[in-house]
C-alpha cells in the first residue's frame, strides 16, 4: 500500500527507457522490470489509478486528453446510465415493443461490477444481471431455439404486446455439489473455510414452465434453459485492439502444444462494420460469438436489449414467429385497432424510424471503447509476489495469458495502439467440464482477470464465473475441471499459505 505510489512513480521511467518486451509469457516468470509494468494493466493509455468504488467507471487517459472524445464519453455514459422509456418527447424514447432490460446499467452495475447471484429470476431486481437462454441441448451453439426466441430471451413487453416468456414461470434453483474430493483441500480444510457456506459448492438449475411460454407449439421439454451473467465492460476497447493475427497465433500455438488447446471463435465478416475488411475471429461473449467491438456485444445490446432502433438497426429484435403470433392475437388487434397484416408489417418492418441518433450511438461507442482498466495494486507485496510465482508455476497462464500488445494501428482509437496490456486471457474457449454448464459446455472464453480484485469494493461481493456460481476466488478456481483440472488439483494440494498467496495475487491484478 504505502509503497504503491513509489512504484507508480518509477513506472514511467521504465516506459521512457523503452522497456516494452512482448515475449510469450506462458510458464516464464517475468523479471523485476516487467513486474513494474504490470501495474499498468491497460497500458499507459488505458489504465487509471483508481481503486475506489468508481474504479470501473473511468475514462482512459486516451479519452481524457481529447476534449471531443471526453465530451462523447460523458454523453455515452449517460446513454448507458439512463432507462429508455416508451413515451415520446421525454428523451431516451423507443423502448420495446418487446425487450430484455430498459438500460445498460440494469445488467452492468458500475459498468464492470457485475450483478449478484440471485435466488429468483426477476428482471426488476437491480442485482439480477442474468440473461435467460433457451437452447437445444443437443446443439447449444446454434442460434438457440431460433424459430421462436431471440438469442437473448425476452421476458418483457410493452402492452398490448406479450413477452415470449412470462418470468413468473422461470424457476431458478441452486443445488449443492460435492466434488471428487468431498469439497476439501488435500490438507483436510473444507473449501471456503470460515464462511457461512464452508465446505459447499453450488450450481444453478433453470426450469421454464410450459405455461410460461407464449408459443403454443413450442415444446419446452425438448429444450434447455440456463442463465448467463453479464461481463464487465471496462477494457473491452483494448481487447478489440489486439490484432487478429496475434489471436490466430495464440490459437495455433495452443493447438501445437498438446494440452489446453483452446477453441477460436468462428470467423465473422464485419467489413461494413469496422475499419478492417475481411473476416475476423470471434473474441467477445462467453462463446466468442462476436468478433469486433463495432459489431460486438455492447453495440448490439444497446439495440437488442432495449429494442431502441438506430440508423444501422432499423428493425425490431424479434423472431418472425413472435411477430406472427402477436399479429394474430385478437387482444393485440383490439387494443391497437389494427388488422393482423398491419401489426405484422409494423413489427417485422426492416425500415423502422431510428429512435436513437447516429451521434448518440457514436458517443455510446466512445464510452464503451474508452472505459479504462484499473491499475493493479500491491504487486510489490511479498505475499502477492509469492502468489504471482504460484500463478505462473501452476499453469494458470496456459489459458489466462498475462499480456498482449495491442496492434500498432488501432484505427477506432489510435491512442491505444501499441499498448502492452495485462488482461490475463487468451481470448479462446476452453472446456472446464462444469456441472450443468449451460451453453458453455461448448467451452467458455477465458475470463479476463484484470480489475476483478476490486469487485468487493465496487460491488460488495465477489460472485464469479459465467453464472456467478462461485462465491469467491477459491470457488472460481475449484470449479476449473476439464482442461484446467491439473491446475485445480495443484491448487488443492497447496498449503493454506500458498492458496492465500495465489488469491492475493488475483485480488491485486
Amino acid at each position: 500500500m504505502k509503497r504503491f505510489y513509489l512504484y507508480i512513480a518509477i513506472i514511467p521511467l521504465f516506459f521512457l527507457a523503452g522497456c516494452e518486451s512482448d515475449d510469450d509469457d506462458e510458464g516464464k516468470i517475468p523479471d523485476e522490470v516487467e513486474l513494474d509494468e504490470e501495474y499498468y494493466a491497460g497500458g499507459k493509455m488505458g489504465t487509471v489509478f483508481v481503486s475506489s468504488s468508481k474504479a470501473y467507471k473511468q475514462a482512459m487517459p486516451a479519452i481524457d486528453r481529447d476534449a471531443q472524445l471526453f465530451k462523447q464519453f460523458m454523453r455515452g455514459e449517460r446513454l448507458a446510465d439512463r432507462s429508455f422509456v416508451t413515451n415520446e418527447g421525454m428523451g431516451y424514447s423507443g423502448l420495446g415493443p418487446v425487450y430484455i432490460r430498459k438500460s445498460c446499467i440494469a445488467c452492468h452495475p458500475s459498468y464492470g461490477g457485475r450483478g449478484q447471484r440471485v435466488e429468483k429470476f426477476d428482471t426488476n431486481d437491480s442485482k439480477n444481471s442474468y440473461l435467460l437462454m433457451i437452447y437445444d441441448p443437443s446443439n447449444p451453439a446454434l442460434p438457440l431455439a431460433s424459430k421462436y426466441f431471440t438469442g437473448m430471451t425476452q421476458t418483457r413487453a410493452i402492452a398490448p404486446f406479450k413477452a415470449p416468456i412470462d418470468e413468473s414461470g422461470v424457476k431458478l434453483t441452486w443445488r449443492q455439489y460435492t466434488d471428487e474430493y468431498g469439497n476439501k483441500y488435500e490438507d483436510g480444510t473444507p473449501y471456503s473455510a470460515g464462511t457461512s457456506y464452508e465446505g459447499t459448492l453450488i450450481y444453478p438449475v433453470v426450469e421454464v414452465a410450459q405455461e410460461a411460454i407464449l408459443f403454443k407449439d413450442f415444446d419446452m421439454s425438448k429444450h434447455a434453459a440456463s442463465i448467463e451473467a453479464t461481463i464487465g465492460i471496462y477494457g473491452t476497447g483494448l481487447l478489440d485492439a489486439i490484432s487478429d493475427e496475434d489471436l490466430r497465433a495464440q490459437y495455433a500455438e495452443e493447438q501445437a502444444r498438446g494440452y489446453c488447446a483452446g477453441k477460436i471463435g468462428a470467423d465473422i465478416d464485419e467489413t461494413e462494420q469496422n475499419p478492417y475488411p475481411g473476416p475476423h475471429p470471434g473474441r467477445f461473449t462467453y462463446l466468442c460469438t462476436r468478433a469486433t467491438l463495432d459489431n460486438g456485444p455492447g453495440a448490439n445490446a444497446l439495440w437488442n436489449i432495449t429494442n431502441v432502433t438506430r440508423p444501422d438497426r432499423t428493425s425490431n429484435y424479434m423472431t418472425e414467429e413472435y411477430a406472427k403470433v402477436m399479429s394474430e392475437d385478437t387482444e393485440v388487434q383490439t387494443a391497437l385497432g389494427q388488422t393482423a397484416e398491419q401489426i405484422f408489417n409494423d413489427l417485422w418492418s426492416k425500415s423502422l424510424k431510428p429512435e436513437m441518433t447516429q451521434e448518440d450511438y457514436d458517443a455510446f461507442m466512445v464510452w464503451h471503447r474508452g472505459l479504462a482498466v484499473p491499475a493493479a495494486r500491491n504487486l510489490d507485496d511479498e505475499t502477492v509476489q509469492r502468489g504471482r510465482t504460484l500463478f505462473y508455476e501452476t499453469g494458470c497462464t496456459a489459458c489466462h495469458r498475462p499480456s498482449w500488445t495491442t496492434r500498432a494501428d488501432y484505427k477506432p482509437l489510435p491512442a491505444i495502439s501499441g499498448q502492452k496490456i495485462y488482461p490475463y486471457t487468451d481470448l479462446l474457449r476452453h472446456d472446464l467440464d462444469m456441472k450443468e454448464p449451460g451453453r458453455t459446455k461448448l467451452g467458455c472464453r477465458t475470463t479476463p482477470l484484470w480489475g476483478r480484485g476490486l469487485m468487493k469494493v465496487v460491488s460488495g461481493h465477489s460472485d464469479m464465473l459465467h453464472d456467478l456460481r462461485a462465491r469467491n476466488y477459491e470457488e472460481a478456481i475449484l470449479w476449473h475441471g476439464g482442461e484446467a483440472k491439473p491446475a485445480k488439483d495443484t491448487f488443492r494440494k497447496m498449503t493454506k499459505e500458498d492458496r492465500t498467496a495465489l488469491i492475493r495475487f488475483l485480488e491485486s491484478i
Binding site: K2, P12, S52, A59, R82, N87, M90, G113, V457
Partner: protein, 398 residues
C-alpha cells in the same frame, strides 16, 4: 477525474525518485510516520461520515417525512395553500438529495440498495404513471409503490410531476383524486428509501426512535437491508475503518472520486450536454425548473465532502480532507476552495442568480438564442476545474 493524472504521475516520478533511492526500506509497515498517516486517514473518514454524510442523509429523511406530512394535510384539506406547502416540502427534500450527490457510492449505488435509481430516475414512463393513476380499484399504496413499481414511475421526478408545472406549484383544482393518491403512495416510497439510506449509513441503533419507527413500518424495507443486503449495514463505520478496501488510501479516494464524479457530471453531463444539443428533456427537474439550484447544491455537496459539515450554510469540521491537504499543500487547499466557490458562482450566473431557469436557457438555445453560451461555458469549465484540482489530492496520499 482522470484528467492530468498521467501528467501528475510523471511529476510525482521526479519527486519520488529521490525518496525511492534514498529511504525506501524493504518493509515500512512499522514506520511511525506511516502509521500516523493511517490514523489520520481514519480520522478524515470518520469526520466525513459523521459530519457530512450521515447528517445529510438524516436531513434528507427528515425532509422526506415533511413531504409525507404535507401530503397528509393536502389530502385532508385540498387547498392551494396546502398544495404549495407540499410543493415547498418537495423542494426542501430535493435540496437535501442534491446535497448528497458527492457521495453516490455505498448504500445508494446500483451495486447495493439502488436508491439513487429508485428515487432519482429520469425520464419518466408517463403512460404507466397515468395508467396507474386511472385505476379505479386496487389503488396504489406506498408499500406496493416501493416493492413493485419500477424506477421510472416513482421517486422525486414523479412527485415533482404531480406537484409542479412550469416552475410553480400546480393549482390544486388540476389535481385529481387519483393523482393525489399516487402522490401520497410515491411519497411514502420515497420516505422509505430516504430512511433506508440513512439507516444503512448510520446503523439502526444510531437513529432516533421516530426514524426507527418509520424504518420498521415496512417489513419489505427491513428485509431488504437486514437479509438481502446485510453486508452494507453500518456502511459509515465500515468506510471509516477502510473495511474491504485494499488500503486506507483507497478508502479516502472514495471522498475524492465521489467529488470528481459529480463535478464532471454537473459540468459535462448536466449542463454542457443538454445545452450544446438543445435538449430540454435532458434538463433535470423539468417541472419545478429547479435545475440550476440542483447543480449548485451538488457543488455544495462537494464542498461539504471536502471541508466537512452539511447543508448549504454548514460550518466546516475540525478534521477533514481539507485540513489534511492544508497541512501538506496549503496552496492546493486554497486552490480547491477557490475552485469550488468559483464553480458555484458560475453556475448561478447562468440563470442570473435565480431569475431564469436552465430549462428556459436550453429552450432558448434550441431556438437559436446563444446569448448565454459564454456563461454556460464558464460554468462547465469551472466544474471540470474542480475535478482537476481534486485529482491533485491523490498525489498527497502516498
Amino acid at each position: 477525474m482522470k484528467k492530468y493524472l498521467l501528467k501528475c504521475m510523471f511529476t510525482l516520478a521526479v519527486i519520488l525518485m529521490v525518496v525511492n533511492f534514498t529511504s525506501c526500506s524493504d518493509d515500512d509497515d512499522d514506520d511511525p510516520v506511516v502509521e500516523n498517516r493511517d490514523e489520520m486517514y481514519g480520522n478524515i473518514l470518520k469526520s466525513y461520515v459523521n459530519t457530512t454524510v450521515i447528517p445529510t442523509y438524516k436531513a434528507l429523511a427528515d425532509a422526506a417525512l415533511e413531504m409525507r406530512a404535507t401530503n397528509q394535510a393536502l389530502k385532508e384539506n385540498v387547498t392551494d395553500a396546502n398544495m404549495e406547502s407540499a410543493a415547498a416540502a418537495w423542494l426542501k427534500a430535493r435540496i437535501q438529495w442534491e446535497l448528497s450527490e458527492a457521495f453516490l457510492f455505498g448504500p445508494v449505488s446500483e451495486d447495493y440498495l439502488n436508491i439513487d435509481a429508485h428515487i432519482d430516475s429520469w425520464p419518466l414512463e408517463l403512460e404507466e404513471i397515468k395508467k396507474e393513476i386511472g385505476l379505479t380499484e386496487g389503488q396504489l399504496t406506498g408499500e406496493r409503490a416501493w416493492k413493485e413499481l419500477e424506477d421510472e414511475v416513482i421517486g422525486f421526478h414523479v412527485t415533482e410531476y404531480l406537484l409542479y408545472r412550469e416552475g410553480k406549484s400546480r393549482p390544486v383544482a388540476e389535481l385529481t383524486e387519483g393523482e393525489l393518491n399516487y402522490l401520497t403512495a410515491a411519497t411514502d416510497a420515497l420516505v422509505w428509501d430516504c430512511v433506508l439510506a440513512y439507516v444503512a449509513w448510520a446503523g439502526e441503533e444510531n437513529v432516533s426512535a421516530a426514524i426507527k419507527e418509520v424504518y420498521r413500518q415496512n417489513a419489505d424495507i427491513v428485509n431488504f437491508l437486514e437479509n438481502e443486503n446485510a453486508s452494507i449495514k453500518n456502511f459509515g463505520s465500515k468506510l471509516s475503518s477502510a473495511d474491504s478496501y485494499s488500503s486506507w488510501e483507497s478508502a479516502v479516494e472514495e471522498i475524492i472520486d465521489g467529488a470528481i464524479d459529480i463535478a464532471d457530471e454537473v459540468g459535462a453531463t448536466k449542463i454542457a450536454d443538454p445545452y450544446s444539443n438543445g435538449r430540454v428533456e435532458d434538463v433535470e427537474s423539468w417541472y419545478s425548473w429547479h435545475s440550476l439550484e440542483d447543480y449548485t447544491n451538488n457543488i455544495y455537496s462537494i464542498r461539504n465532502a471536502y471541508m466537512g459539515g452539511e447543508g448549504v450554510t454548514g460550518s466546516p469540521a475540525s478534521v477533514s480532507l481539507s485540513t489534511f491537504v492544508k497541512e501538506y499543500d496549503a496552496a492546493l487547499d486554497t486552490e480547491i476552495k477557490e475552485k469550488i466557490d468559483n464553480c458555484i458562482t458560475k453556475i448561478q450566473a447562468i440563470g442570473d442568480n435565480g431569475s431564469l431557469s436552465f430549462y428556459k436557457v436550453v429552450e432558448a438555445k434550441s431556438k437559436g438564442d446563444v446569448s448565454r453560451e459564454a456563461l454556460v461555458n464558464a460554468a462547465v469549465d469551472a466544474c471540470l476545474a474542480v475535478g482537476v484540482s481534486f485529482e491533485k489530492i491523490k498525489e498527497l496520499l502516498k
